[in-house]
């Protein structure tokens, strides 16, 4: 149980770090859209897998979410560039 609690804190810290990274990237790199969208994708999947406990769900749900978020992020990136 302690390890579980520790996992949630770790996930939260990684999410905070990723938020800082993409804020930094958006200020430093001119064409950072791809990186920003990729980091957003990782953040969304982390929230879904760890906070929503989707990692314990059937493979169908994991793949469906991966596919849906992937489609949205890739479409936004491709259309933007």
């Amino acid at each position: 149980m302690f390890i579980r609690g520790l996992n949630s804190i770790l996930v939260f810290l990684v999410l905070l770090t990723l938020t800082s990274v993409f804020l930094y990237l958006s200020n430093v790199i001119t064409h950072s859209e791809g990186l920003i969208m990729f980091i957003s994708f990782i953040k969304i999947m982390m929230v879904a897998m760890y906070f929503m406990e989707l990692k314990k769900a059937h493979l169908f749900w994991r793949l469906s979410l991966l596919f849906l978020i992937g489609i949205i992020i890739v479409s936004a990136f491709v259309l933007k560039s």
């Binding site: 949630s8 996930v11 905070l16 938020t19 859209e33 920003i36 406990e53 989707l54 749900w61």
Partner: protein
Amino acid sequence: MTKENINTTNEINHIYYPPGGILIWIIIFLELITFGMAIVAFTLSSNLETEVFKQSSNQLNLFIGTTNTVLLLLSGYFMAKAIQDVKREDLVKFKFSIVITMVLGLLFIVFKCVEYFQKIQQGIFIDTNTFYSYYWFLTLFHLVHVLVGLVILLLTYYSVKKSNQIILDNIEASGAFWHMCDLIWLLIFPILYLMN
């Protein structure tokens, strides 16, 4: 709190039983599709009016946007903790975690209202330009979801407090709805605040 007081289907790895139940996940997918389509439309429009989108995006308050991201991530952490507390049959910690989640949700709303107030003071409304039409639509629609999420969490809190009985599926469904607000915000924040 005894084991008998916790009702759950306990078939989490079955295709019909994702965490929180199949219905909440159908809602989550439909919401993500709706916001996803709006984001794709936003991106298409930004290609047609590049300068307007760039200037308008730069006018947004990045500090408030980032603070709101951190608040939602932190509330997501406490919601996940609340569900772990329930599974551990620790009602006191569960109530504490869910109250913190709601307080962070309320803070999100306060910051959002401050941002809206600033925009209204600057004379920026839904019809100012195409960017702001999307901005108001996406963020207000998301704010409505946060409000609904808060009401659901409040009802969950009071039902546990009143009956002293935990229905794990209901609590997981409430948590899944709250995390959905996280997911949507994580999608719209970079698109509105950073991509232009």
